[in-house]
Symmetry: C2
Subunit: 300 residues, 2 copies
């Protein structure tokens, strides 16, 4: 089944303790789309400026990602993010943000896009995410991401959103912030009470936790010593997860757990180089091979 | 097979964000012994003062732990530690330490104890750990714990120890400190180069990683929302692990992984109450039940 993602498409400049990359392709919807495209056809809705390099669009199209919903604002500039990772490669500082055309992002879906069965609302203002939900017609599964900014500054909108989605994906620190609970297990359960049928808490290098009414589990990250750039890890996790669900056209507990594992593995490749560089080098066979190792690692 | 542990026996006063417990039973060898005693007979070597309550010795003896190596110093005072956990229940501050009789701890093993096949050198000065190794005769498996203090202040002794042990167990922050490497996967592999045949890095609420020449894997912690007191989590992990190995009289890769899992589960119970209170409430059946849940959690 087709998969819709609405989110940011960006140009990033990234500093790590050992390297600098200027003006590389980034953005939540970008990482998500590319990761999901290993499994299922993706329809991307986003906005860029006239400065956005055509090669980036071509890269996504070559993966079979439908970019007809990528709006180009004449004379506008693309969302720009500049960040710096600290030596632990987990904590980061934002050095510069230029929202540019993303600041006025009011996604409008084509009739075809409105009928997508699987919908992912990448991190964005809850009001914008709600505006997308108002347009889709009878989706089978809606999952959203969010962040500390919206928890702090648009809490009522976020609460409204949580009542209308099936799944919520967020970072550990954000789950703690949302619930004022430092224990991730009870935090996850509290978030279920706010509306979603399931909650995924991303723990970065420590993997991800899953919560539903009947299940609580944690899956570790795949151990890799090649951590070059963690940017997009969370979005590529979500892309792998949602792409697998859309491909299976199913989200029963068994399929959800498999999807979590695929998300973890796509993310583990993603961090091994800047931007989409590592994901561009691999194919589904590489993911399957890592899946075999991962399953072996977790069986005893 | 019998299992020898040499380490601290202490009186702890513990503050958590919600509770305070004064003068409860603590110490690395205490937690280790009790945890291991679910699986195998344990021989404990340690030192306490004349103030050490007899009920604590009785508690250990009732578990079949051989306390004949617990030396009581006449007129001496038992090692005392006072600590405070911050709201995340992971970070802690030491408020007070009185080494007392533990400061002069020079373990001497009886002939019977010298012949133990499985040996665990709980956290202590590397010189003391080496002095124990000089006494044991032909152990099958020697595993040691260490901490930041010894990495910083007794580095040459620690390097000597690492060449003489089979396995090293340590915290994530200590592994990073020892190797000056922020990536735990490469840190673990670097520690293997220092001598041990296997390395276990404990990640607290995120589980534990295992490294040997041919294997690298990570197992998550068992998710519990009842985190009352994390004191002794690492020592009860090591106790569960070593106890299981001693019971199996084996440490092939398959048994080591099962042992890691049992260590994780004993620790997950241990944090559910102060001191040994939670471990006292459970039996091997409770551990087996949690093991079934844990295996189910990790299979997909």
């Amino acid at each position: 089944m087709s998969l819709l993602v609405v989110g940011s498409v960006a140009i990033d400049s990234i500093q790590t303790p050992t390297e600098v990359r200027e003006n590389v392709l980034g953005g939540s919807a970008t990482y998500f789309s590319y990761a999901a495209s290993f499994f299922a056809p993706v329809r991307l809705v986003g906005v860029v400026g006239e400065d956005f390099p055509h090669e980036h669009v071509a890269l996504l199209r070559d993966r079979g990602i439908d970019t007809s919903g990528l709006h180009v604002v004449k004379g506008g500039k693309t969302f720009f993010w500049k960040g710096k990772y600290l030596s632990n490669m987990n904590d980061r500082e934002t050095l510069e943000v230029q929202l540019n055309v993303f600041g006025e992002f009011r996604p409008t879906l084509s009739d075809e896009f409105k009928r997508c069965a699987f919908v992912f609302l990448a991190n964005g203002a809850p009001a914008t995410q709600l505006a997308v939900l108002d347009q889709v017609t009878g989706p089978r599964l809606v999952v959203a991401d969010t962040m500390d900014l919206w928890i702090r500054e648009q809490h009522p909108d976020l609460m409204q959103l949580l009542k209308r989605i099936d799944g919520l994906v967020m970072n550990d620190s954000e789950a703690k912030l949302l619930t004022s609970d430092e224990n991730l297990v009870s935090a996850g359960r509290k978030i279920l009470d706010l509306g979603p049928k399931f909650v995924v808490i991303k723990k970065g290098e420590h993997g991800a936790m899953f919560f539903s009414e009947h299940e609580t589990y944690v899956l570790p990250a795949f151990p890799t010593e090649r951590v070059v750039d963690p940017t997009g890890a969370g979005d590529s996790f979500a892309g792998g997860m949602m792409g697998y669900l859309a491909a299976q056209n199913n989200f029963d507990p068994k399929t959800l757990k498999e999807a979590m594992a695929y998300g973890i593995l796509v993310a583990s490749f993603n961090v091994e180089d800047f931007s989409l560089e590592r994901l561009r080098e691999i194919d589904l066979d590489d993911l399957q091979l890592r899946m075999e190792k991962y399953k072996k690692m977790l069986s005893f």
